[in-house]
């Protein structure tokens, strides 16, 4: 691994010294990072740049479309359940389906995915059962571990704290000489965390096979990107660390798939990390405990409705004769049924077991902890609480 790193340590100190420019030919002004254009393949009218169309089979295109519909259906059902008092606080994803789903479409089962808390569309596609995600958001311990045979990290609640471990996974792939990759998702807010900058640097230095997907949805709770960073081109952060970086229309599923696929290929090929800034918009709430009308002019939200990632993909698929109004209706209904079935399954799952909260901290429970567990069990017994 880290051939780049090794070369550096072996080259003699004088080799890479850049001769200074003479003042007459030198630009003496500090550099201003140039504009980085946003790649779009499918515009909001459903028109496609055929030269850049990712090579997905018709069947795969429909799978991706259905995954986006499922993500939105799940999102809306979760919101309903939360308002009914049957779900915990969660972070809705409406309007970000292309970004969320697109970032995992090119991944294999051997690749790893490190989600953020708004990534459930991607988690579902990676194989997390929806009732499992409902358990997670409803406060059950067993909702957090990724399911068997799913190579995902659990998301971290502390913003950006999962990005370094995701880079470590990539370093592990290099260590074990595997040709797989890691996609790690985080937001515009997380880009301010020092640990995220450290992660970019480590990935670049070790040529870790990592695809950074910075989902810039414009808002970190009430803080707009303009107040998050003086350079709103977050992709410039990747450039600064020597990572090939690109900005992508995050509401364009084809652009997302294209960019992540290219990045994943580069990573698997030993060419190191890529930074993708996906421009999207948080149409909905930060979380169900949030009221954006306090800090955000709803006029700002309106144009994003027209940039809906699902609508433009429908036009594209209709133009390819893969969708009709009838089949849209069928897919929508089947997603609704699938989510309702997951909900019903979730409702029928066992209640939480208060007895297990000591069980998973250490491989072998230390004596002191075992005594505390006995004390806790006595508390449960005294209160007449059932546990295993």
């Amino acid at each position: 691994m880290a051939s780049h790193h090794q070369d550096k340590t072996k080259s003699s100190p004088g080799d890479e010294v850049i001769p200074p420019s003479t003042p007459s030919e030198m630009n003496t002004s500090p550099i201003d990072l140039g504009h980085i254009e946003v790649m779009q393949i499918l515009n909001e009218h459903g028109e496609v740049d055929q030269g850049l169309e990712p090579s997905l089979s018709d069947e795969r295109l429909l799978e991706v479309y259905r995954a986006m519909i499922l993500a939105r259906t799940f999102d809306q059902r979760m919101l309903t359940m939360q308002r009914q008092g049957r779900m915990g606080t969660f972070a809705p994803n409406t309007g970000q389906e292309a970004c969320t789903v697109g970032q995992v479409v090119p991944l294999t089962k051997d690749d790893w995915y490190s989600p953020s808390y708004r990534s459930f569309g991607a988690q579902i596609m990676r194989g997390w059962p929806m009732e499992h995600l409902m358990r997670l958001w409803a406060g059950f311990h067993d909702g957090f571990p990724p399911p068997e045979n799913v190579n995902d990290l659990p998301f971290s609640i502390v913003i950006g704290s999962h990005v370094l471990p995701a880079v470590g996974l990539g370093m592990g792939m290099n260590y074990k000489k595997k040709n797989d990759c890691v996609v790690v998702n985080f937001g515009d807010g997380a880009s301010s965390q020092g640990a995220v900058s450290e992660a970019l640097n480590f990935a670049a230095v070790y040529k870790a096979p990592v695809v950074f997907v910075c989902e810039n949805n414009g808002w970190a709770i009430s803080t707009p990107t303009a107040k998050q960073t003086a350079n709103e081109v977050i992709a410039a952060r990747g450039v600064a660390y020597g990572i090939p970086s690109i900005r992508v229309d995050g509401n364009d599923i084809l652009a997302m798939v294209f960019a992540v696929d290219e990045a994943a290929k580069r990573a698997r090929n030993g060419d190191g990390p890529t930074f993708i800034e996906a421009i999207t918009y948080r149409m909905s709430l930060h979380t169900t405990a949030d009221d954006p009308t306090v800090y955000r002019d709803e006029q700002e939200v309106l144009p994003w409705g027209k940039r809906c990632p699902i609508t433009r993909f429908e036009i594209y698929l209709k133009n390819k004769n893969l969708l009709t109004n009838d089949s849209i209706q069928e897919i929508t209904e089947s997603c609704e049924q699938e989510v309702i079935a997951a909900r019903d399954k979730f409702y029928s799952m066992p209640s939480a077991n208060p007895g297990e909260i000591f069980d998973h901290l250490y491989e072998i429970m230390p004596e002191e902890l075992s005594q505390q567990r006995d004390e806790y069990r006595k508390r449960l017994d005294d209160k007449g609480v059932d546990y295993e």
Partner: protein, 327 residues
């Protein structure tokens, strides 16, 4: 058997563990060709390659965070943080992920990793180079905290820590690094984590310490036996968390008196925890209040005056006499 310093003994443990298991790797600042600022990883990169002994960028949070990812991927990283004072840069990753990931994933992912770092005073270094903040990590559920005191137990505990599947904070008493030599077996040797060592059996009083403070404690115990006919039982804690309460309890139930010595700060320090436990487990056996000699609750002083901050054997002798004679 070879007579080794602690630095050499730690190096031996890492060398043998890397030879034994190809998944053991090292990450840290200047640990490669430079062998670490204390030369603890000397020649390991030459022997085991740059892939396995990785010089890292200068970012402690980054080192620990990426090591966590490698551990999830089935590698057994041994991280070196140059000085324990710099470990605070990595507090984020230690607290959010290293200590909790097993619990968060209900055991799906384990973190077989060791965070090695030199701690404690006595080497005349600048600020942030002399801290003893083991209590932070002992206070953090999910970690184990190990502190050796001699070349032989350092080697055996580090080898055992590298083989553990739970994450370990391994504090190395840098004042002991080259202070003395001890016979260390050439063949791999392991010590059980979580067990205290009764270094010297005694009947009059229990003296509990760990790490670099074991040296002044040993001096004190010898003085007391020779000059005052006081027979002290000396216990080396070795693992701070989980603590071997049973060994401490049995000893204090026998002697009825106890003194605890550490260089870490007093408030909410390790001695506070030991006293609380003995209060629960040996109260009716106590003949005198338990005394503690600790670092004061001030930042570690600059080195012109540091010798006055660290507990010394004479002070320990006096505390033991006082506790022995209390009635």
């Amino acid at each position: 058997m070879s007579k080794l310093t602690m630095v050499e003994a730690l190096n031996l443990a890492m060398d043998q563990e890397m030879a034994r298991d190809e998944n053991v790797c090292m990450l840290g600042e200047d640990i490669g060709i430079n062998g670490g600022v204390f030369r603890t990883t000397k020649d390991l990169q030459k022997k085991h390659g740059e892939n396995r002994v990785m010089d890292t960028p200068l970012a402690e949070c980054g080192i620990v965070g990426t090591a966590i990812g490698m551990a999830i991927y089935g590698i057994r990283p041994v991280v070196e943080i140059q000085f324990s004072g710099f470990t605070m840069q990595a507090f984020d990753q230690i607290e959010q992920n290293m200590a909790r990931l097993r619990n968060r994933t209900q055991g799906k992912y384990t973190l077989p990793m060791v965070l090695r770092t030199p701690y404690g005073g006595g080497i005349r270094a600048v600020e942030h180079h002399s801290e003893s903040r083991e209590a932070y990590w002992a206070h953090t559920p999910g970690l184990k905290v190990v502190i050796p005191s001699s070349p032989r137990n350092a080697r055996a505990l580090l080898a055992a820590s590298i083989r553990e599947d739970d994450p370990i904070v391994f504090y190395e008493p840098k004042a002991v690094y080259r202070a003395f030599r001890e016979e260390v077996p050439d063949e791999p040797e392991l010590m059980e984590i979580g067990k205290a060592d009764i270094v010297r059996a005694g009947s009059d009083l229990t003296l509990i310490s760990y790490g670099a403070m074991m040296r002044p404690c040993k001096e004190a115990v010898e003085d007391l036996a020779e000059d005052h006919n006081i027979n002290v039982e000396l216990i080396d804690l070795l693992t701070i968390s989980p603590m071997d309460t049973e060994t401490l309890t049995r000893s204090v139930q026998k002697t009825g008196r106890c003194v605890i010595v550490h260089e870490g700060h007093r408030t909410c320090g390790i001695a506070s925890e030991i006293i609380a436990r003995l209060n629960e487990s040996a109260f009716e056996y106590l003949e005198a209040p338990i005394k503690r000699i600790t670092g004061f609750d001030i930042p570690f002083p600059y080195f012109q005056v540091e010798e006055h901050f660290l507990p010394e054997s004479e002070e320990i002798v006096n505390a033991i006499k006082e506790t022995r004679n209390w009635q």
